[in-house]
């Protein structure tokens, strides 16, 4: 390592040698940076899971353009759209197909365990193409029968009895909102922060479950366009066509972006996780500063000697930054390994998709390196105390 750094720097790696010389202090500093890294990784992991799960339903819909209410901010609190807008949209050139989707949430208490599960219920027209997932599309036909449903097998805390019942009898009965629902099949979507899982039912079953919802007021209208159509232009054309301005057309990507934007900027959750990242950086900054400033203090006579010999101020800055970057690197390696293990643990405990995209380690390492360099820059103020005139 010393040899490698000597070659890289073109000089003795004094910063590294200093760190290595005091092992307990090095371990404390690396521990601090590792802790900060783990904290940042976990915050980013949860924040990303929040964003990804909040658009999970959006992504699974088979649509080029989506009609939502004008005041749409999030799927969770979306207001209904007049069904008549669907027909108006169909009149726009390049719009080929349209289908309504009804959304609401429903709580089910498992009588066996007393555990409560919060479902997002999606009411669809069974003979229409609503989902991108092939197996889900095939199974949608099953829910034509009244009071039948498909259940998300990645529902958080899903009772194994449901899977067992489906295997043994091909169905499983649940009761909610005063009605009995027969589960006829499984699909795979996943839990999010606001719902434990999803149920797919027919439009008619949905309206029975939620009698306050009127038939002509779906939550979304999914539009499919002719192949090769310019989706942005079609969405603009639809928006121009809707006179009452109560409905808005989004391309699917705009629909996803609007939800993400809401989660990150309009809800406290996005802020809380961002704040967590900042706290992680501050914790790391303080710990690295403590170590570097103590190190500078301990070596003041040597630094004063180097000043006397003729070393320039940039030499000392380079030395401190070298220490800072060594700490950033040494703390990052255990930090990412621990984070990967914790991602797996948290993912299985919460049923949230907590993954590690390749860009995140780069982001965290760069943030950590900046944090360490800032700590180093603050610590260099102590260098002024190294006065070579005091050596004689």
């Amino acid at each position: 390592m010393t040899e490698l750094l000597t070659r890289l720097l073109g000089r003795l790696p004094i910063g590294w040698l200093q760190l290595q010389h005091n092992r307990p202090r090095l371990l404390a500093a690396v521990g601090g940076v590792t802790f900060a890294n783990v904290l940042i990784f976990m915050q980013l992991g949860f924040m990303n899971a929040l964003f990804e799960t909040s658009v999970m339903t959006h992504r699974t819909l088979d649509a080029d353009i989506v009609l939502v209410s004008r005041d749409f901010r999030s799927l969770r609190e979306a207001n209904p759209v007049p069904r008549s807008r669907m027909y108006q949209a169909l009149a726009v050139p390049a719009v080929a197909e349209a289908t309504p989707v009804y959304l609401a949430t429903m709580t089910w208490t498992d009588p066996e365990t007393d555990d409560t599960t919060n479902f997002r219920v999606m009411g669809v027209v069974p003979y229409e193409t609503v989902f991108l997932d092939e197996s889900l599309r095939e199974q949608t036909k099953v829910v034509r029968e009244p009071d039948t449903a498909l259940i998300d097998n990645r529902t958080r805390g899903l009772s194994p009895l449901i899977d067992q019942g489906l295997k043994e009898r091909g169905e499983y009965l649940i009761e909610s909102l005063g009605r009995r629902l027969t589960i006829r099949g499984l699909f795979s979507l996943g839990a999010s922060f606001d719902v434990d899982g999803s149920l797919v039912v027919s439009e008619q079953t949905f309206l029975r479950l939620f009698p306050m919802r009127l038939p002509g007021t779906p939550t979304l209208v999914l539009l499919k366009c002719d192949p090769g159509a310019d989706l942005d232009r079609v969405a603009l054309a639809i928006n121009d066509r809707l006179p009452e301005r109560d409905t808005k057309a989004f391309t699917k990507q705009q629909f996803i972006d609007a939800e993400k934007n809401y989660q990150s900027s309009q809800t406290p959750i996005g802020f809380v996780f961002s704040f967590g990242v900042i706290i992680g950086l501050i914790v790391g900054l303080v710990m690295v500063y403590q170590v570097l400033s103590t190190d500078v203090q301990d070596h003041l006579p040597e630094y004063a000697t180097f000043k006397a010999i003729g070393y320039a101020p940039r030499f000392f800055l380079g030395l401190i930054f070298e220490e800072a970057l060594c700490l950033a690197t040494l703390g990052f390696i255990p930090g990412i390994l621990i984070a990967i293990a914790l991602y797996a643990l948290a993912g299985s405990a919460t049923a949230l998709p907590i993954s590690m995209p390749w860009t995140r380690p780069i982001l965290v390492f760069v943030s950590t390196a900046i944090m360490c360099v800032v700590s180093g820059a603050i610590a260099t103020r102590r260098l002024n105390a190294a006065d070579p005139a005091d050596l004689f």
Partner: protein
């Protein structure tokens, strides 16, 4: 400047005129040096003596570019230090060698690496064949068998000799040594001062030594005695020895 005075300026390593220095302001002001005139030729070995507070350390730090000159003139190797920028002072320091009483070796570096720091300050040019140069410098002070030792594994005398090697490895024009033999036994003390003498004779290196060690007086060309910020005696060594034998030091 005529030819004669130009030649004289080149010969002089240190040329001091009317140098005064004070510390503090107002009522707490202390005058450390008063109106000092001093010339030191290249290749001279000077021993600076005097009681604590006599001003010898202040004089050394001013000549050694470690403090800014307040009043008077200090020319070091032809460069006027009064009014010189920090950059100039730093560049001048690279032509000097410092040996501090407290050694100040870097505790994370081996003896060889500590000596290397005396070369690295000269940049790439200083690093050519650095290992040979550093090993040779350590062998000259009898430490050829301690190259990879950290300072904590060295005795006080050995540390002092590493500091000597670090100061000399870059072939400085002027060496400043503060009690360089204080931690050394007779044999090694003699080894170090003989090294200074040889550098002065062979390379025209100027050596300024602050010491109270009477065993090494013979190595000097001149002995300066300071009291209350003034040079009160400036003796050629032969005269000093003679005077000591006679019981008194004649003033110049």
């Amino acid at each position: 400047m005529d030819a004669q005075s130009g030649e004289r300026a080149v010969e002089l390593a240190v040329d001091i005129g009317h140098l005064s220095h004070r510390f503090g302001e107002g009522e707490t002001q202390v005058r450390a040096l008063s109106n000092i005139d001093l010339q030191i030729r290249r290749g001279e070995v000077i021993i600076l003596m005097g009681p604590s507070g006599s001003g010898k350390t202040t004089l050394l730090t001013l000549i050694g570019c470690l403090r800014s000159v307040q009043t008077g003139s200090v020319k070091l190797l032809g460069q006027e230090l009064n009014g010189a920028s920090e950059l100039t002072l730093m560049a001048m320091r690279r032509r000097l060698g410092f040996i501090f009483q407290a050694h100040n070796l870097h505790k994370s570096l081996t003896a060889l690496q500590n000596v290397r720091m005396g070369l690295e300050v000269h940049g790439e040019s200083g690093l050519r064949d650095w290992r040979d140069a550093c090993e040779q410098a350590l062998r000259l002070v009898n430490l050829g068998n301690r190259l990879e030792f950290l300072p904590e594994k060295l005795s006080g005398g050995q540390k002092q000799r590493v500091a000597v090697a670090r100061a000399l490895v870059g072939n400085p024009d002027v060496v400043f040594a503060d009690e360089p033999t204080a931690a050394l036994d007779r044999e090694n003390g003699r080894l170090v001062v003989d090294l200074f003498r040889n550098l002065a004779d062979q390379r025209q290196t100027t050596v300024l030594i602050v010491t109270h060690d009477h065993r090494i007086m013979d190595v000097a060309d001149r002995i300066l005695k300071m009291e209350e910020g003034r040079i009160v005696e400036d003796l050629a060594v032969d005269a000093a020895v003679l005077a000591a034998e006679g019981g008194a030091m004649p003033s110049t």
